[in-house]
């Protein structure tokens, strides 16, 4: 039965291929000639630009994977990585088959429907080459960009992937893998495309004059709203909030991965923002790259300062979230603002993200990576910032927002932006909430408590990101080992490379460690520097060996025999309790102790209230020092004696 079904599927897919696919350049016979014209060269530059920036935005998936896994615990790492991997695969399928058509296909103000599965017509490149007079096709919302349909599609697809992957951070460490997969499909095929259609697909918000250049609303706040509803419906991780109102930190397992991830995202944003020109417009893409970078830097810096002042230390996680917040906030206004405006936008973003991380914890919405604070809050801020800071630029052509409130404009654009924010918020909040509820009813949202405690790697994936069994059982190990198998068991790092990728010696031997400044009164026990291997002589051999070979050794050679001698100073007939208290006091406040204390402390081994055991130092000197230290504390009839072994 299975065989017959797969044969049927194979035949039908073959017949699908037979249908006409997107026309544009693929049918042109004299293509090469055309491409060497000025218009052709521009088309090539535009297409290469769109594709390269699409690749950069695709690479942001790696950034998200690293940030999210770094901010979460090791026991959930494989699961989080799997979510990040599968979300792009699912989004590709959802957006290719349905989403792209809903978003950019011709339709009405609410949604598009022409050109499902990329099978519509699109002659924008022909128009750019001069081979067609005007646009004819199913994706007129993309007629303004000259690139081939597939290039435009890929670029838009990676944006959809970004929106979907935002969600995975907020729902991490407790969501069912299957639930996330289903939600991602709905996100990529329906929720994201509908909002995108409103703003970029010629829908009603675009008609109203709302501007969102690279997607602070379309991508980031859509992802953010879905993340918010998801985190709220799931509930917080076990142990995050105590019943008495305490917020418990659940530290991430690798700040190195997280930092690397943020850098990768920052790099990817150089594709995200400048690429949204969808044409190789030299002055625009350069300006956008600059505003993007400045916002990231100012937000990262201000978040650092703000966290430092607010929380006492520059928490690295806040710094990283800060940089990302700036990038999200500049995403909508990037083409429309000056570098100075970008700086200000970043400053506000830096403060907003820190405060909202603290706020969401206070209202008990558990967001392990700060996705909601970064993407939702700053997505909204960035969108509104267009209405505050937008100024006209000649290189952007006709379609530009009205001047912003702070640039001498009226508040008109701001109102339009606000309308968009509210409308998108209402829609996305509701749509995602319904979707989560639907999934919860069908297959459940959250893993069982036992699984959450054990870690989702084992529970959901059946494997571990960091396999924890240090004692793997192989039958081969019981075979008598010769040299090569031994090296295999020890690890080729040591055997072949003479070093380790993950150095396992937790106790590196540094002489420097013996000088820390902690030792207030106990000078370092002078010893011979030991080279590499520790000697294994009997005790008597050591004393014989102390024949000085050079000057430095001779200092140590003679005292070594004296240093090792143990002897005691005994308080006879003394008040033991008082003596013990006196000693405790001396140890506790050494700065106020008489100088004899330091002498005694240096050579002391132990004291039980009656007997001081010493090693090293002169017995008579110690006796006198003890007498002076304990004068008046020993009581009548007491005496101090020395006992040498």
């Amino acid at each position: 039965m299975r065989k017959q079904i797969s044969a049927l599927m194979a035949v039908s897919s073959l017949s699908l291929v037979g249908f006409a696919t997107a026309q544009d350049l693929q049918q042109l016979k004299d293509l090469n000639e055309l491409l060497s014209t000025p218009q052709g060269l521009k088309l090539i530059a535009d297409t290469v630009w769109v594709l390269v920036t699409a690749f950069l935005v695709f690479w942001m998936n790696a950034g998200f994977a690293l940030v999210e896994s770094g901010f979460c615990r090791a026991k959930n790492a494989a699961n989080i990585l799997a979510k990040n991997f599968i979300v792009f695969a699912i989004t590709t399928l959802a957006y290719w088959s349905l989403g792209f058509a809903f978003m950019f296909g011709d339709g009405n103000s609410f949604i598009g429907w022409k050109g499902l599965a990329l099978m519509g017509e699109h002659n924008a490149p022909l128009v750019a080459l001069g081979k067609a007079k005007e646009y004819s096709g199913d994706y007129s919302a993309l007629s303004w960009t000259s690139v081939p349909l597939f290039a435009a599609f890929l670029f838009q697809l990676v944006f959809a992937g970004t929106a979907a992957t935002i969600v995975s951070g907020a729902v991490a460490e407790r969501i069912k893998y299957a639930a996330f997969i289903v939600f991602s499909f709905v996100m990529g095929s329906l929720i994201y495309p509908i909002v995108g259609h409103w703003i970029w697909g010629g829908g009603w918000l675009a008609q109203k004059g709302m501007y969102d250049f690279a997607g602070s609303t379309v991508v980031h706040s859509v992802g953010g709203w879905a993340a918010l509803t998801g985190a709220a419906m799931l509930g917080p991780r076990l142990g995050k909030y105590s019943k008495d109102g305490k917020i418990n930190p659940i530290p991430g397992h690798s700040m190195a991965l997280a930092t690397l991830g943020v850098f990768i995202l920052w790099l990817g944003w150089f594709g995200f923002n400048p690429g949204s020109t969808m044409s190789a417009n030299p002055s625009a893409i350069a300006r956008i790259a600059i505003t993007t970078n400045i916002a990231a830097a100012s937000a990262g810096f201000i978040a650092t300062l703000w966290a430092w002042l607010r929380l006492g230390k520059p928490d690295l996680t806040m710094m990283l979230n800060g940089g990302l917040a700036g990038l999200v906030a500049i995403t909508a206004p990037c083409a429309f603002v000056s570098p100075v405006s970008a700086f200000i936008i970043g400053v506000v973003a830096g403060v907003l993200v820190v405060e909202s991380v603290l706020l969401f914890d206070r209202v008990r919405i558990d967001d392990p990576v700060g996705a909601i604070s970064v993407h939702l809050v700053n997505g909204i801020w960035g969108t509104l910032a267009v209405g505050l800071f937008a100024q006209p630029f000649a290189d952007l052509g006709e379609a530009q927002p009205k001047p912003g409130l702070f640039i001498g404009g009226s508040g008109e654009q701001f109102i339009i932006q606000l309308t968009g924010v509210v409308a998108v918020g209402a829609f996305t909040f509701t749509a995602s909430l319904i979707t989560w509820a639907f999934i919860k009813a069908l297959i459940g949202l959250r893993v069982e408590p036992e699984e959450e405690v054990q870690g989702l790697d084992i529970g959901e994936m059946g494997m571990e990101a960091y396999p924890s069994d240090p004692f793997p059982t192989f039958e081969a190990l019981s075979v008598t080992l010769r040299v090569e198998p031994e090296e295999e068991v020890q690890g080729l790092d040591i055997g072949e490379m003479g070093m380790e990728a993950y150095p396992s010696d937790p106790f590196p031997t540094f002489e420097a460690l013996s000088v820390t400044g902690w030792e207030r009164f106990v000078p370092t026990f002078t010893h011979q520097p030991v080279t590499g291997k520790f000697p294994t002589p009997a005790v008597s051999e050591l004393t014989v060996k102390s024949k000085p070979a050079n000057g430095s050794e001779s200092e140590i050679a003679s005292p070594s025999a004296v240093e090792r001698r143990l002897y005691s100073v005994i308080l006879e007939n003394a008040n033991t309790e008082r003596a013990k208290r006196r000693w405790e006091r001396l140890c506790h406040e050494p700065q106020q102790a008489p100088p004899e204390f330091h002498e005694v402390y240096r050579h002391l081994v132990s004291f039980d209230g009656r007997e001081f055991v010493f090693r090293g130092g002169e017995p008579e000197r110690m006796k006198r020092a003890i007498e002076r230290l304990f004068e008046g504390y020993l009581g009548v009839g007491a005496s101090v004696t020395v006992e040498v072994e």
Partner: protein
Amino acid sequence: MKMVMAVIRPHKLAEVRNALAQIGVVGMTVSEVRGHGRQRGQVERYRGAEYVVDLLPKVKLEIAVPDEQVQEVIAAVVQSARTGEIGDGKVFVLPLEDCIRVRTGDRGEDAL
């Protein structure tokens, strides 16, 4: 035979090992442990939330020692591990019933 178990500050390990080597003690087992004495630990923060780390990292050495050497070993450890600050650690002495060398089968003090 006795087992001397010492819990010390991690950064003091090199010094303690040197001091033990000087009195001829080379064999030992070292483990990374966490613990605290009478005092609590330190306060840390993560994204604005405070928590107390009261299990502080320490290093534990276990050294099997013949009876005659016990006092010497204690002295060597105590003097080299001491800094004068709270958290210096403790030394315990446990009775050791027997000791066997895996490679040769030696038993008793010869195997120490």
